[in-house]
């Protein structure tokens, strides 16, 4: 049984910042889900704001490394999905406000 919570992993992932918009991946709403199995392996389901993101590979790596930095997590795997497609309504209110979308 693994005692690490999804919130702990999300805290770690929130250190990954998109350099173009200046917000972290969690508050942008790009992390769709985190699952942790009994052996403390994390599976992160995420998307990107556009399929053509030039940082595609790097963001994937940074999120994986950040998830693995969570104390007690053994390994992390990343699944990038395009459905549902991301839009700004998925972002946190502070992001929407800063972008002028509220």
């Amino acid at each position: 049984m693994c005692n690490i919570t999804k919130e702990q992993v999300l805290d770690s992932i929130s250190t990954v910042i998109d350099p173009e918009v200046g917000f972290n991946m969690v508050e942008l709403g790009l992390i769709y889900g985190v699952e942790i199995d009994d052996d403390c392996n994390a599976k992160v389901t995420m998307t990107l704001s556009t399929r053509a993101c030039p940082l595609h590979q790097m963001l994937e790596q940074w999120v994986r490394e950040a998830a693995e930095r969570t104390e007690g997590i053994n390994t992390a795997t990343i699944e990038i999905v395009w459905e549902p497609a991301w839009n700004v309504t998925m972002a946190a209110d502070n992001v929407k406000q800063a972008l002028g979308a509220m």
Partner: protein
């Protein structure tokens, strides 16, 4: 150990020469306008020489450099062989200089310059076609980039034949083919490329989602049809076909403008930063060029033709290119110098890498000069034209300085991909 695949972003040393050379050509190209007589026609060899300086040395040079980074992004595959870009910029640079010398002073070197430009473009086309071949998702952007490059292929063959006709006496009616060459390059390559890329880039930077893509689809179809019809009208020498083709091209641009308006309406990121404002002026210039272009269909006026070309080339093309340099250059520099440091130390955001004051000066000097110079051309006022150009020269100096500042940002970090084992 930094072991991530960087297929989607080529090293900055490949792209840097394109942006530096392109910016120098832009600054000098604007400077040369001071010595052009606005009453000379658009087929005058001095004007044609300037057009090649600006379109090859600035527009094509920057587009090719940008494509090295953007093609993998928009087609979602890595380059076939990005190292081929090492051949492109020297050939294009020497070829352009030689061609301009040919137009201005020594017609017999024109063909040699044309040959070098041909080498640059064939290399670009070869690399681009083989990269596109790897694309798995055939999006509208992929199709528009494909057609743009097909049109560029035809344009450079016609251009080279015209260079042979002017410099070597090969029998070819240059005045007949000049229009087809211009439509293939400006409409077929530059405009279609901009249409395809803006469908990716504008939503990406503005965070626009879920918008209707019907207008851009129509714009793409109509522009492809218009360019084909114009070339066919030239081959069979039917002027009414060419006239209809131009009307269709103007309708295509109108659909494109409508698409841009939709994208801007749906964007989540409302910032009016230097990039956004540069885009506004660029698209405003396109609207003015479109109106003036429609006027030329009914009124034969050299002043209207030249002012339409002014707002298209110095306004729309230049603003879209320069605006995107404020996005692409910081990204490439950040990617090269700061991405290996992510998670290890604080790294700058992309907007912190902009030389804001220089960019502001560049924007205001250039924009004022664009309007004043355009009005001068339209009303045949040499002093207004030269006054506007003088302002643009100052703006171009700030642009060049901004590009160099962005490229040197964080250079002291001395981090390279090789050191990071990529």
């Amino acid at each position: 150990m930094f072991n991530i695949s960087r297929d989607f972003a080529p090293p900055i040393k490949i792209i840097e020469p394109f942006f530096i050379i392109g910016s120098i050509f832009y600054a000098l190209g604007v400077l040369f306008l001071l010595f052009l007589d606005p009453s000379s026609g658009h087929v005058d060899l001095v004007t044609v020489g300037w057009a090649h300086w600006f379109l090859l040395g600035f527009v094509m040079m920057i587009i090719f450099g940008a494509m090295a980074q953007l093609i993998p992004v928009v087609v979602e595959v890595g380059h076939f062989s990005v190292d081929l870009y090492y051949i492109i910029w020297p050939s294009l640079l020497i070829g352009t200089l030689t061609m301009v010398v040919g137009f201005w002073w020594m017609p017999y070197v024109l063909a040699y310059g044309g040959l070098l430009v041909l080498v640059a473009m064939v290399t670009f086309l070869f690399e681009t076609f083989l990269t596109l071949k790897k694309a798995e998702r055939i999006t509208l952007t992929v199709k528009s980039v494909l057609w743009a490059n097909i049109f560029l292929t035809v344009a450079i063959v016609i251009g080279f034949l015209m260079a042979l006709a002017i410099g070597e006496g090969v029998v070819l009616d240059v005045s007949k083919w000049l229009g087809a060459h211009a439509v293939l390059v400006l409409g077929g390559f530059v405009t279609l490329t901009i249409m395809g890329l803006s469908l990716i880039l504008l939503p990406m930077f503005g965070l626009s989602h879920g918008f209707d893509e019907m207008p851009i689809t129509r714009a793409y179809q109509l522009m492809v049809g218009a360019v084909i019809a114009y070339v066919a009208g030239t081959v069979i020498d039917w002027s009414w076909v060419r006239w209809i083709a131009l009307v269709v091209a103007f309708v295509s641009v109108s659909f494109y403008g409508y698409q841009i308006w939709i994208i801007y309406q749906t964007r989540a990121r409302k910032a009016h930063d230097i990039y956004a404002r540069t885009m506004y002026v660029g698209y405003g210039s396109l609207a003015v060029a479109l109106v003036l272009g429609i006027v030329t269909l009914f009124v034969s006026s050299e002043q209207v033709i030249l002012s339409a070309a002014w707002f298209l080339i110095l306004g729309f093309f230049s603003y879209l290119i320069n605006g995107h340099l404020y996005k692409i250059v910081p990204f490439l520099v950040w990617f090269e110098r700061y991405s290996p440091l992510v998670g290890k130390q604080k790294v700058p955001m992309l907007n912190e890498m902009l030389p804001e004051r220089k960019a502001e000066w560049q924007f205001w000097f250039t924009s004022t000069g664009l309007v004043v110079g355009g009005i001068g051309l339209l009303f045949g006022s040499s002093s207004l034209f030269h006054g506007g150009v003088t302002l643009m020269v100052v703006g171009a100096g700030f642009m060049l300085s901004s590009v160099l500042s962005m490229l040197s940002y964080g250079k002291e970090l001395n981090i390279s991909r090789t050191e990071n084992n990529v």
